[in-house]
Symmetry: C2
Subunit: 339 residues, 2 copies
């Protein structure tokens, strides 16, 4: 009853599930905790009673599952580790839940699992628990992955979208929109003169560098779905402040600019998966920007604007011609299924 494709019986909880877990999942994701195969994994290390637990969850439905610069497995680890990093948490562990479509080539599944394992190793995090379900052909799309991350935030650290104050500087760690456009280009079979590659990357190392500056960092956030514009709006709403950004200061690569012009897309709404927005006090702005630029993932970091006390909860974009326009949250669905 062997097969090179996922079958419904792989999700039955019986022998084939057991074999799939043993031969594919555990082969790559070998964590001592996962090996026990009990109903819950137990983390036996002593917990710092002063640290606080951070928890985040994300499901990944990116289409296609392989794209320039990554795949759904790498993305599922980076995205969740990055959400932990955005509150300053050191990742402890992640869980992985798979929903597989009947007929998915086992080779594709193994490639994705191997990529997850590789990314988890780089992040220094163990995959401690997993689950696999299979649905009939046509009831899912290849595979979907949920990852949930648990991390620890050290005492005294308080990063939140609600902390921005008028006068704070708004920084971005690199060029924007690469992930969204890379996924779109391969999904639609578009070719551009400049290759589009996803920026999908682990940000926990970069965040450690920023935190090491001891600067007054109010908020970190990664501009994924909805892009930079939506992220800035979320911060403005959460903090009850205004944000003003300079259009010319926003780092955008020539390739992304050209692709967006051709497709009629606005790069400010295109997703990143390896960039962060940092809101920092004016005194700490220089040190944090330098720390970002010293790191390979922050080479193109820039100050793009500042927090204002009016109009509150709005984001204003200053154009190169001296005008300004209101930058709203993404409305509608510019690029569906990019993560």
């Amino acid at each position: 009853m062997s097969s090179d494709k996922v079958m419904l019986a792989h999700g039955s909880g019986g022998r084939l599930t057991y074999e799939l877990v043993r031969d594919v999942f555990l082969k790559h994701l070998h964590s001592p905790l996962l090996r026990l195969m009990d109903d819950s994994a137990i983390w036996s290390f002593a917990l710092d009673p002063n640290a606080r637990l951070a928890v985040t969850t994300d499901s990944y439905v990116v289409s296609p599952i392989f794209f320039p610069g990554g795949d759904i497995g790498k993305l599922a680890v980076c995205g969740t580790i990055n959400d932990l990093a955005m509150v300053g948490a050191e990742p402890l562990m992640i869980t992985a839940g798979f929903i597989l479509e009947e007929g998915l080539p086992l080779e594709d599944l193994e490639r994705v699992i191997s990529s997850m394992a590789d990314t988890a190793r780089k992040a220094g995090v163990a995959v401690v628990a997993g689950d696999t379900k299979v649905v009939e052909r046509g009831k899912a799309d290849g595979l979907f992955i949920n990852t949930t991350g648990v991390g620890l935030v050290r005492e005294g650290l308080n990063l939140s979208g609600a902390n921005a104050r008028p006068g704070d500087a708004v920084l971005v760690s690199g060029t924007i929109g690469e992930h969204g456009l890379a996924v779109l280009s391969v999904r639609e079979g578009l070719e551009f003169s400049l290759p589009l590659v996803s920026d999908c990357a682990l940000l926990n190392g970069l965040v450690q560098e920023i935190l090491a500056t001891k600067g007054q960092i109010r908020c970190l956030r990664d501009p994924t779905r909805g892009g930079l514009a939506t992220t800035l709006n979320e911060i403005a709403i959460q903090s009850g402040v205004g944000i003003e950004v300079e259009e010319t200061a926003i780092p955008i690569s020539d390739g992304i600019r050209a692709a967006c012009e051709l497709l009629g897309l606005d790069p400010l709404y295109a997703a990143c998966e390896g960039r962060l927005v940092a809101v920092v006090s004016p005194e700490s702005e220089e040190a944090v920007l330098e720390a970002l630029q010293r790191h390979p993932l922050g080479r193109n970091a820039a100050k793009i604007g500042h927090v204002t006390d009016g109009p509150t909860r709005k984001v204003v974009l200053r154009t190169p011609y001296g005008g300004c326009r209101l930058l709203d949250m993404l409305s509608g669905a510019q690029l569906p299924r990019i993560c």
Copy 2:
């Protein structure tokens, strides 16, 4: 742009996602942590440094999403709380990741969320983080939910499928197979003279009663996918022991027995979602069985067999006629998508 159905834009990360989260998710799942809407939720309560963290994840793809005795929302909370309970963990929090199919009626979504919220309240657990993705019509099936649970195991408690020893008693907390047959009956539009209702329930209260006996409990496990037979096999494999069960001692309701006979299904492989198997030392057998039977969810609890030292890693079923047969793990897919 309002609608009574889920649209792709609800998953874009922009305004409609924000409104969906605010108007549907937060309306029911109001946790102070979820309200902050940062990238990770932070659990600010002091952690007992002697306790250990337990983590478990499950995706739910049950079809149909509403069934007698429950729905995918109730199931998604019970299943994950139960997996924590099986290692003796007190649940702290759960996360919820939703994958929605374009076109899902918002009314159905709200009914599911409300059911999740209700079940989480009963379990005494907060939903601290969430995520919503939307895929095109025909790329999923209504909605899928992943829940991940985090709990604490108190010092000294060690329940594991690897702990069973020859001589231990094997108990089950109630009649088996209700969940699998209830889902199957509504999916296939079958009507039986005795109504089939899922046993879907929270087991953390029942587990507390068992643990309060201070008995020597080796292992708890809930026989979900693959049913009782598969669960017993998993324990036999993990512990390297044999298990012998008496067919006549296994509690099966008349309704399930009749439905299984009609459909040619074996109730030993049909899923439960509110039952547990307990392996306990011979000295503790009586006290644990009494504790089970005192609880409303354990009224039909019974001793069904014992752990043997041979043949190891095998489960043997003694039939009423004095014979015996090898009870293997489920092979193939008896009942797909029952959780």
